[in-house]
Symmetry: C2
Subunit: 458 residues, 2 copies
């Protein structure tokens, strides 16, 4: 019987979740928690979550011996609490370090990779871990905060839209009004996280505490998962950030240590799979979390409007925050050569109230669209211009095309991201009662969606 | 009378286009050609084109004296040649350095900022300079090539689409078949340059010479214009690049010297106004031109398919290149939260043959779209998936949503850019005579639109 076969039989006795000590053939020893393997990866390795929250993959052929230090029992119990939609306090018995003077935060789960694990039935990754599970699997969190958890939605983020934003906003308003939380974390799938961050940025102005969206590009059962480090940084930002407002906390670079805290309206998912997929556009992130320490970016602070955190325990009830509604009658039109402008007629005749164009360059499209856009505007549809370039700002005064667009009433939105513009339009449409007020507010900077300096092409 | 007033009267006698010698108050001297000022800029400075082709702005208050060295007469004459659609040889009398053994290239003008100047009538920038003008204003070009020029189209690039691609392709095929050109340069507005680059990349496979698209982010009458340096680098690439194929040559960085040569299907305009707006996606540029020297990128070369240049004077007639047609019945659908899936029904019922989706993340959209996409596919519409993340590749096997999309027949396109995918779909629709062949070829790598390594998030 080969050594590999022996190792396989040892592994069969070791349970997922056990804390094990591994001795490699070169006599290095590694301690960590045995994790489930990602289903599309080869069966020649095991995955261990280290104490720093990072996962590593180890080839079975390199392992000399494995000792189980702690068998995973507590975890099995917590799994039974899944889909518990009531707010549950943390399991204090398993968290000896927890101090009573730690700040209190709420972790609101909406689904996504940070809350996903392998679904052996379908053979893919599905969002099923509860916020409580997350907390239990990252014990370091107990050093920073007392955490309440609640599952609000259990959806991949591609299924989260205006209706779910309404739900999240209402829940956050309700929780802020309890007056007990120093910060609220919303775990969220990464696909539409920046859209939701924009929605919360507009709907939750002047809140006294930070609301942090966090996710993971790789699920927590994979080597190189970023879920633990992102979550720890989210808790640090929720409790220690000097400012209130809505932020996105995600990996900043390929290194394990650097996590970025982005302003909710200025962030974009710019890579399908990398851990550092999220980038601030036309500005730097507000802060980075480096080895669990927040480092503020002074340039960004001077370029944006921020409110200081104003939480006082029991005193920050916010009767003035009225949950916003989002109205979906907004159309995002990405222009491309060969685009048939008759589509604008369809949009105009089918109940849409606002068109956000993603034009080329400074905000242009083919002159054959002018006739249809003019008709749309005459019919009462509001038309705004952003750029598919992503970085930089629109300007309709430089070229003939732009001036023609201005003449018929197309409104440029400076360096507002097209995605942010769509969300802002839905928010204004849901909460303002007349066209002029929407027109005016679309062009005003409300939550850093339009910023003075736009100098970064990263 | 103040010194500034004196200077203003001196400036009034100096004509735009004159070569002047300026002595500053700190006794620095600067020689160059007086350029028209950009109309939206303040009147407190003048703009000088230096001999290296770069423009600088000088504050009038800093100028001690100005001497006119050469008055601009030749230029006025050449201006009269505007809108000349016949191929014209260069003005040899003004180009003493021209050697008879220099390689011969064609500069085909389609309009855009590189060929624009101030239109005092409308108060904006309009594309009016002929390719001949460009050549006359950048005499350095004579060191590298004998250049023929032709105005093919005179349009802002937002007005260039499938019909114009057909025209450009036909013209290039005709010119290649003359067997006299070592390279062809297409000057083009930057707004849709990457779309046209994709179109030419698919339509002009296996050409023996490089076809270089070039433009400028700032028109040649502005300080910090990039038109001269981009054009010089385009000529260097057209004559010296080891490879044939379709490339985009534009500024690579904020410095003046570094110009990038991008692969036609892998480039994107990522900033509305910066000179270094163009970026290669998921790869590095094929080459950079640094101080007029081409430096190839070995990593990129190993990651893409390239043909070596195979031009032999008089011998490269290409009877096998048949001008391609582009068919516009392709719809680019950028998904966003709140998207109303009924639009898919409209697209299906209105003659579109292909839908290219820009999904979220790995290639997802809301589950409420599945029903409509299934109907579209059943009706014979082909549906492909790209990602709005821009960087990285789609994958529909990781999550439930993706697998559901695959089940109904949605085809992921790996790391093909959505813009490139739309152009490729229009090209296949115009040239393939059956659905299965389009389906197959969309997924095959034809012109580096799908590349093995995608490791850059810049």
């Amino acid at each position: 019987m080969s050594n590999d076969e022996t190792m396989t039989s040892v592994l069969e006795k070791t349970k997922i979740g056990d804390i094990i000590n591994i001795c490699l053939k070169d006599n290095t020893t590694i301690m960590g928690r045995l994790m489930p393997r990602y289903e599309y990866e080869k069966g020649d390795h095991i995955v261990i979550k280290l104490q720093n929250g990072y996962n590593v993959g180890l080839k079975i052929e390199k392992i000399k011996s494995i000792n189980t230090l702690v068998s995973d029992l507590a975890k099995d119990q917590s799994r039974n609490n899944m889909n518990n939609s009531k707010s549950t306090n943390i399991d204090h018995s398993s968290l000896d370090k927890l101090k009573s003077d730690l700040p209190q935060i709420l972790l609101l789960s909406t689904g996504g990779t940070i809350a996903s694990k392998i679904d052996y039935r379908t053979g893919g990754v599905t969002p099923v871990l509860s916020a409580q599970d997350l907390y239990n699997s990252v014990p370091e969190l107990s050093e920073y905060a007392k955490i309440d958890t609640e599952i609000l939605i259990n959806e991949y983020s591609e299924n989260i839209g205006p209706k779910e934003w309404n739900l999240i906003v209402s829940k956050i308003v309700q929780k802020i009004n309890l007056g007990i939380y120093n910060g609220i974390i919303v775990s969220h799938g990464t696909d539409t996280m920046s859209y939701t961050a924009s929605a919360l940025s507009f709907a939750l102005q002047n809140i006294p505490i930070p609301v942090i969206l966090v996710g993971a590009q790789r699920s927590s059962d994979r080597p190189s998962s970023d879920s633990s480090s992102n979550l720890i940084s989210a808790v640090i930002c929720a409790t220690q950030l000097k400012y209130s407002g809505v932020f996105v906390v995600m990996h900043a670079s390929m290194s394990d240590d650097l996590i970025a805290c982005h302003i909710g309206t200025r962030v974009r998912k710019n890579h399908t799979s990398k851990r550092n997929a999220f980038q601030s556009i036309d500005t730097y992130p507000l802060a980075t979390v480096d080895k669990n320490r927040i480092i503020m970016d002074d340039k960004t602070i001077s370029n944006v409007n921020l409110n200081e955190r104003s939480f006082e325990s029991g005193k920050n009830k916010l009767h003035e925050i009225i949950p916003s509604k989002f109205d979906e009658r907004v159309f995002l039109l990405k222009y491309y050569p060969g685009f048939n402008p008759k589509l604008i007629e369809y949009v105009t005749n089918n109940g849409y109230k606002i068109i956000v164009i993603e034009g080329t360059g400074l905000g242009h499209l083919n002159k054959n669209c002018l006739f249809y856009l003019k008709n749309a505007i005459t019919s009462g549809v509001l038309v705004f211009m952003t750029s598919q370039c992503i970085w930089g700002r629109t300007s309709l005064t430089v070229y003939d095309t732009g001036r023609d667009l201005i003449k018929i009433g197309v409104i440029p939105l400076s360096n507002m991201l097209s995605e942010t513009a769509v969300v802002k339009a839905m928010w204004l449409l849901g909460n303002e009662n007349n066209r002029n007020s929407i027109l005016k507010k679309m062009q005003e900077n409300i939550s850093n969606e339009i910023i003075p300096i736009s100098h970064i092409l990263s």
